[in-house]
């Protein structure tokens, strides 16, 4: 089950790890995504800190980590096919993290309510 941040990332619990990606709302707001940068496996990400730049034709956006912990995998397919985030935002995970700490998240229902405002 996916949970969401106020900065439009999603988090999916995988047991010992979590996967993080961008919400459908975020990809629609950005438009056609043409470039994604990702951290390296072994890097540490921190709650509220940017771990990726996502560029659409129009502008660059930072992606903020909803968790603190060590990156155990990155979705390298996105480096060559960043458009996967537009095509299937909930399949296009960006990083997988051994999360020591997670920020307060919203359920999908709460998030859909949040983006209406």
């Amino acid at each position: 089950m996916k949970q969401f941040t106020k900065t439009h990332e999603w988090v999916s619990n995988q047991g010992k790890t979590v996967k993080v990606g961008l919400s459908d709302f975020a990809q629609k707001e950005m438009g056609d995504i043409v470039y994604v940068s990702l951290p390296a496996v072994g890097d540490t990400v921190t709650i509220g800190k940017s771990f990726s730049d996502v560029e659409s034709v129009k502008a660059v956006s930072e992606v903020f980590s909803p968790v603190t912990g060590k990156v155990v995998a990155v979705n390298e397919e996105l480096l060559d096919k960043p458009e996967l985030i537009n095509e299937a935002p909930y399949d296009a995970w960006m990083i997988e993290v051994e999360a020591a700490e997670t920020e307060e998240l919203m359920t999908e229902e709460q998030y859909l309510e949040f983006i209406k405002k």
Partner: protein, 358 residues
């Protein structure tokens, strides 16, 4: 104050994502998305609302002298029905605006100016009127549509008789009836493709827009927003005022010297004669992952030699490119661009990045 164009309601109805540009609220894209719209114009056709552009009507016995004195290109050889691209300069040789001159007759011209510059240009032109010249700013009277792409002529021909379609690039026809109103049609555009710009009475704009969309749908015509207008003109290396051009850039520094005629008189000529250009406009292709945006600094080794004026991913080429303003004396093959703290190598390449082949 943000103005609406006559097509505001149509944009909202078609799902346009509305943003402010040059004092107007316009669609940056529709639901199809920027890249789809961009590709439609490259391969089939797209239609843009460019009603925000300003139309200045200059008439009278002094019209020729007034325009010829204002612009750095030479309008002497223009025939009736010709369009000519030019700039007008300030007294320091900087660029007040770039625009197209339309010649209706020896005593009647139009200047079609950039939306964001219309109020400034209005004051500038009024201050430089020579005797026997009547100036009327008709910007609010006209709507303007740009029908662009390889199939633009085929589509236009469905509602305009062939004999009223301007044949040559940078020519126009006048008093052409479309949907019951008289229009001006020029074979001009800002996309690097063949295409037309249609000037119509403001209140008829929506009818003509919908009619073109209806008859063009089978040829792939879709409404297109400002986002792809920018990527299309950028690939064709057409300058955008406020980015490649401004009041502080010397007209001889922006890669448009073929439009500057030093053998005639014009406002700003003395400054151009006295000041040698220090910068030049160049195109680069990024050699590493990343996208250089406007204002990113450009380096030759450790030395800053300029900055990016437009940069993004090229939908047609499939890699990131940029136009840069760099020191005129730089003659290397590669530069380094600072992309948010990281230096990215870029290669100087020939402009335009994209040129149509038909």
């Amino acid at each position: 104050m943000t103005k609406q164009t006559p097509l505001y309601n149509a944009h909202v109805r078609h799902g346009g994502k509305m943003v402010e540009f040059g004092g107007f609220i316009l669609p940056i894209q529709y639901e199809t998305g920027l890249i789809t719209e961009h590709n439609a114009v490259r391969h089939d056709a797209g239609i843009f609302d460019v009603s925000h552009m300003g139309e200045f009507d200059i008439s009278g016995k002094g019209a020729f002298n007034t325009v010829q004195n204002l612009v750095c290109n030479d309008i002497t050889g223009m025939n009736n029905g010709d369009c000519r691209y030019t700039m007008m300069l300030n007294d320091n040789g900087g660029i007040v605006d770039d625009f197209i001159v339309y010649k209706f007759s020896d005593t009647h011209y139009w200047l079609v100016v950039n939306a964001g510059n219309t109020p400034k240009d209005d004051a500038w032109v009024k201050n430089h009127l020579l005797p026997d010249t009547v100036f009327v700013n008709k910007s609010d009277e006209y709507g303007q549509l740009a029908l662009q792409g390889p199939k633009a002529e085929k589509i236009l021909n469905k509602i305009v008789n062939e004999k009223f379609i301007p044949k040559g690039n940078y020519t126009f026809t006048d008093d052409v009836e479309i949907c019951g109103v008289k229009c001006v049609i020029s074979r001009t555009g800002y996309t690097g493709e063949d295409g037309f710009e249609i000037y119509c009475p403001a209140k008829a704009t929506e009818t003509i827009f919908e009619k073109l969309l209806e008859i063009g749908a089978s040829d792939g015509l879709i409404p297109c927003g400002l986002g792809c207008r920018d990527t299309l003109r950028f690939e064709a290396c057409m300058p955008l005022y406020g980015h490649e051009l401004n009041e502080d850039f010397l007209a001889t520094e922006v890669g448009l010297n073929i439009f500057i005629k030093m053998d005639k008189d014009f406002v700003g000529k003395a400054a151009l004669a006295q000041n040698a250009p220090k910068y030049k406009r160049k195109g680069v292709k990024l050699l590493e992952r990343g996208i250089a945006r406007e204002h990113s600094d450009v380096y030759d080794g450790d030395r800053k030699i300029g900055f990016v004026t437009t940069g993004t991913h090229s939908p047609t080429l499939g890699y990131p490119i940029a136009m840069v303003r760099i020191e005129k004396d730089f003659n290397g093959d590669t530069v380094d661009i600072d992309v948010r703290g990281k230096r990215i190598k870029a290669q100087i390449v020939k402009m335009p990045f994209y040129k149509r082949t038909y």
